[in-house]
Amino acid sequence: MSAATDQEVGRSRVRPRARRLVAGRGRYTDDIAAPRAVHVAFYRSPHPHARIKALELSAARAIPGVVLVASGADIARHCKPFAGVHRLFIGMKAADQLPVAVDRACWQGEPVVVVAAETRAIAEDALDLIEVDWEPLEGFGTPEGALAGPAIHEQLGDNIGFDGITTTGDVATAIAGAAVVVEDTFRFGRHTGVCLEARSILAVYDPQEQSLVVHESHQCPAQQQAIFADLMGLPEHRVRVICPDVGGAFGIKQQLYGDELATCIVAKMTGRPALFVADRVESFASDIHAREHVVKARMAFAHDGSILALTLDDLFAVGAYSQYPRSSIGEASHVARLTGAPYRIPAYQARVRMVYQNKPPVGHYRAVGHPIACAVGESLIDQGARALGLDPIAVRRLNQIRDGSGPHASHGAAVLEGLTLDACLDRLLAGFDVTDFRREQAAARQRGSLLGLGIASFVELAGTGAPYYGESGAPVTAQEACLVRLEPSGHVRCQASATDQGQGTDTAIGQAVADAVGVAFDDVEVVSGDSAACPPGGGAWASRGASAGVEAAVRAGRALRAEILRLAGLILQRKPEQMYVRRGVIRDAVTGAELITIREVAVIGHYRQHLLPPGTQPDLSLVRSYVPQNQAFLTTNGIQLATVSIDPGLGEVRLLRHRVAHDSGTVINPQLLDEQIRGGVVQGLGAALFEEIRYGEDGTLGTGTLMDYLVPLATEIPDIEVVHVTTADPSTTLGAKGAGEAGTAGAAAAVLNAVNDALAPLGARVSALPLTPERVLAAIAAASSVPAEALSRQKAGT
C-alpha cells in the first residue's frame, strides 16, 4: 500500500461514536442510572424584577416524597458568590451572583427556591405549593430602557457594565472627504442555541471522601471541575466532571449556571445523587441567550468605491448578570474587532457599551459576535455600492485585504494572518453565475416577483489563544492536551482535553494520531470529556477542536512514535532514523522490509523490559500540549452567498440557494468539515428569518415553547453548497483551522443582503433580524407609503 492511500488525515472516516448513537445507545446525562437519586426542580421568578419579602415553604415540605426545599440563603451557605468580570477590559463592572436568588430576583426565570424529591413530578407538585410574597420592582427589558434606567445593581452605580472605544486613523477627516456616506441602525433579536438535549446535570457527593463526581451536559469539563471546587470549597483533585454524550451545546453549555451549581449543593446537603434536567420552558427562560444588539453604523466611500471610514456604536444588552466565568463582553468586543474586518479601512471608530437589563444572562453562542459584525459591515458595503452605482462584488474585490499580503494589523485592533479572501471569493463565484442570476432576477421583476442575491464576506477568529483569557482572571485555558498511550496489544488510546458534542473532534484526533504514530485508524481509541481521565484543557469552544485539540494530539502521537522507534532501535540494535512506522509495522527506511511490529515493541515495553539494555526505561504513555501562546486569536475567513425570493403580498422570504466558500486549512475529515459548516449555516439562517426570544419592555418572556420560538425545519432550508480553500495554518504542525462557526458567522448577513437586493426596486430596506414577514411587509409599506394591508389586498386581487 502506498503512503498516499494509507494516510488517515484527509479521509471521510465514519465517527465511531455515531455507531452507538444511531442504535439508540447514546449515554446522555439523563440516561445515566443513579440509585437513590433525588430529582431537582426550581421555583423560578415569575417577575423580571421583584423583591422577595417572604417565602412560605412548609406546605411544599409536607408533600410525601419531597426530600429538600431550600431557599437561596440555604444554598448560599455552601458556596461563594461569583462575578463575570474579564480583566482585559479595564473598567468592566459586574455584580456578584449566587446560584439561587436571595432577597431579590433580577430576571424572570431566575431560580428562587430549590426542591429535591423522589421524582421530578413530585418536585413539581411541591413547586405549586411554594408561596412567595413578592414586591414587584420596575423592570427594564430593552437596551435603551436599561441604559436610561436606574441601576439594577445599586453598587454598580448604573447599568453600564463596560464602555469602550476603539479608534484607528482620523474618522472626521475621512468622512468629510467622502463621496458617499451610508448610515443605518441595525437591530438584532435575542436568540439561543436550543440544544435538543436540555441542560442536564447529575451530581454525586461523598461526605467521607469529600469528593464530588458530576455528570454534566457541558463542553468544558476541566473548567467546571475548577469552578465547582473553588466555589464549593472542595479540593480540586477530589472533584471530577464527566461530560458524557452531549445533545447539542453550541456555546450554551460552556458557562456556569446557578441551577447547576445548586444541584451540586443539593447533592452535598442531602447526601444523595441529585439530578436536574431542564424542561423546555425553563431552557428558554434560563439558557444563555445572545445577540441582543442595537448597532448604529456609518461607512464612508470614495467615488471609486474605496472605503474611507467606518464608525459604529454597539449597544449590547446582556441581561441582569455577566455570565461566569468568561463574562458577557465577548460578543460586543468581537463586533468592535470584526466589523469590516475583510477590508482595508484607514479610519475607524467603534464604541461598545454592555448594559445590564432585567433579562436572563447573555453570553456565548456559536460564532460569538461574528454574525453581528458581518451583518453590519456587509450590509453597509452593499448600501455604499448601491449609492455609488457600483457592483457590490467589485467593491468587495477593490477593498478586501489581498491574499498573501502578510500579517495585517486591522482597524479593529486584531492581527489577521494568512487571509485568503480573494481565493474564497473566486471559489464562491466559480459555482454561481451572477450574470445569469441578474437576468433571471430582471425577468422575475417583469412578472411582479422579487428575487435577491446577497454576499457576505467574513474574517473569523477561530481558536482563541493564551493572551485573551490569560489576562481575564477566569479559570479558562486556551491550551489543549492529549495523552497518547500504547497499549500492550499495540493499540493506541488517546485521552484528550478537547471534547466532542457531535462535531467529530474525537474522530479527527483518531485520524491524526493514527498518522502520527503509524497505526491504522481502527487501532486508535479516543476518550474525552472526563476531567479525571483526561489532562486539563479547554474543551470545546471558539472552533478550537481541530486547530488546538488535534494539534496537541498530533504532537503527542509523534512523541509516541519516536519512543516506539527508540525502543525498536534498542531491541534491533539499529538507529531509529534508519526505520519508519506504517500501519503498525516498523520497517527499514531504505528497503521497506518489515523489521518488527508495534505490537511486539509494546509487549516488550510493557511486559518484558528485562530484554532491553540495562538502564532502559520505556515511556509509552506520553502527553503533549498545544496553546497558541502569543496570538490572542487564530484567523481564518470565508464568504457566503444567498439567493431568496420574496412574496410581496405576504412578506415571506423563501431561501433558494446558499453557498459557502471557506478556508479551513488542512482538511482532516472532508465530510465532517462540510457538515460543521452546513449545520452552522442553518443556525445562521434561523437567525436570519425565524429565531427570536421575544420579551415585553419590562422583561417578560413571550416565547416559552418551540411553538413560539421558530427553529428552522427541513422544509424551510435548501441544500447547502460548500466549497473550500485549503491554506495550511503555518503556526501549527498540522495546519488545520477552525470551521465550526464559519457557517453561523456569515449566513444571516448573506440573507439580509439578498432580501435588501430583492427589495431595492421598491425602494424598501430592512435592517432588523430576524426578517419576519411583518418586518418585510412594513418595509415595503413604508417605501410605497401604502399601508401593508392595502398592499396585500392589492396583491390578492391581481
Binding site: A18, L21, V22, G24, D30, T119, G502, V711, A714
Partner: protein
C-alpha cells in the same frame, strides 16, 4: 415514596410483554425511559413539537411525550432499540453513518423512526417528500441536508434490493 395514584398497564414493547404499575400521570416517554430503561427514546420538548420522542404505537408513529403510559395499555410499542434489533432500520442506520447524518445524535432515534415510516409508505421519495416527512423532527446540528441525503440513499438501496 409518595402516595401517587397508580395503574396497571400491560403492553408489548419491542415484541416482549410488559406489565407494570405506573403513576397515572406518567408519560409514555418517561415510562419507556425510566421504567423500562429504553433510553434511546429522547425527550426534547415535552410538548410534541421536536419529534425526538417519536416511537411506533400499533404501527403508527406517535409522540411518546404526548401520550400517557396508561393510554398505551394493550398496545404494541416499537422503539429505536427494537427496530435496531429486528434489523428493520439497518439500511437507514448505515446510510446515516456513512453520510454523517447525525452530530450530537439526540434527534436521531426519532428521525430514524420517522424515516422508516416514510420508507414503508413511499418507495422512492423525492427530496421534497423526504423534507416534508421529517419536517416535524427538529435537528439543530446538521441543517438537514445530510439527513435528506441519507434517507434518499437508504430508499435507493432498498429499491435496488428488490
Amino acid at each position: 415514596m409518595s402516595s401517587e395514584a397508580e395503574i396497571l398497564v400491560r403492553l408489548t414493547v419491542n415484541g416482549a410483554v410488559v406489565a407494570r404499575h405506573v403513576p397515572v400521570r406518567r408519560s409514555l416517554a418517561d415510562f419507556l425511559r425510566h421504567d423500562l430503561g429504553l433510553t434511546g427514546t429522547h425527550v426534547g420538548c415535552e410538548h410534541g413539537v421536536c419529534g425526538a420522542c417519536t416511537i411506533r404505537l400499533d404501527g403508527e408513529i406517535v409522540r411518546s411525550c404526548l401520550l400517557l403510559a396508561a393510554q398505551a395499555d394493550g398496545a404494541a410499542v416499537e422503539t429505536v432499540e427494537g427496530l435496531t434489533e429486528s434489523g428493520e432500520i439497518a439500511a437507514l442506520q448505515q446510510a446515516f453513518l456513512a453520510r454523517n447524518a447525525l452530530q450530537c445524535g439526540f434527534c436521531t432515534p426519532g428521525m430514524l423512526v420517522t424515516a422508516a415510516d416514510l420508507l414503508r409508505t413511499t418507495t422512492t421519495p423525492t427530496r421534497e417528500e423526504i423534507r416534508g416527512a421529517i419536517s416535524a423532527n427538529y435537528c439543530r446540528c446538521t441543517g438537514y441536508h445530510a439527513i435528506v441525503d441519507a434517507i434518499e440513499t437508504a430508499a435507493t438501496s432498498r429499491t435496488g434490493d428488490r
